[in-house]
Amino acid sequence: SQQGEEDPQALSIQEGENATMNCSYKTSINNLQWYRQNSGRGLVHLILIRSNEREKHSGRLRVTLDTSKKSSSLLITASRAADTASYFCATPRGGNNRLAFGKGNQVVVIP
């Protein structure tokens, strides 16, 4: 799992398997977002889940949000080699919605 103080997590799976990663946060939120980063460069927005939602799907992605536990999970089903990346959760903070990121989960999908 990832949160402000934890080290990044690493996950290695076979192609076709599901990958699950977790994130926790500390403050109240309006929404939580997941981003993917390839090769340490730009981040790609994957999905946004609002605080009044418990689960959301987008293609092979499934995100859950538990505001009582201040945690979220991202599930990637039927993983592909192209899913190899680092995955970050982020929550908007302050009036300018600047993003506060978790430490990230590194996922390696073995063909």
Partner: protein, 114 residues
């Protein structure tokens, strides 16, 4: 349409030199953010621009860092008298609405200070 672009992709400089990093946001996006990603600190917010409003500089780590946004579009992040701890990937993001929820990131500039 074009996404967020940043230049240069990579920059190697000597300690004490000044560097300028450029960000071209998505056309029409009013909000622009700079973040820094380093091994020790993860992803950190640096500065936020929204239209013609005064920028939120609360994330800048020292007075050696400054940024401007000309004409509400292109932004330049300047680091003066660079230090080795400034080595990081500098990421720019823009969003369409005032404080919009989804931020679109550029590919980043990897800065190495020797």
């Amino acid at each position: 349409g074009a996404g967020v672009s940043q230049s240069p992709s990579n920059k190697v400089t000597e300690k004490g030199k000044d560097v300028e990093l450029r960000c071209d946001p998505i056309s029409g996006h009013t909000a622009l953010y700079w973040y820094r990603q380093s091994l020790g600190q993860g992803l950190e917010f640096l500065i936020y621009f929204q239209g013609n409003s005064a920028p939120d500089k609360s994330g800048l780590p020292s007075d050696r860092f400054s940024a401007e946004r000309t004409g509400g579009s292109v932004s330049t992040l300047t680091i003066q008298r660079t230090q080795q701890e400034d080595s990081a990937v500098y990421l720019c993001a823009s969003s369409g609405l005032a404080g919009g929820e989804t931020q679109y990131f550029g590919p980043g500039t990897r800065l190495l200070v020797l």
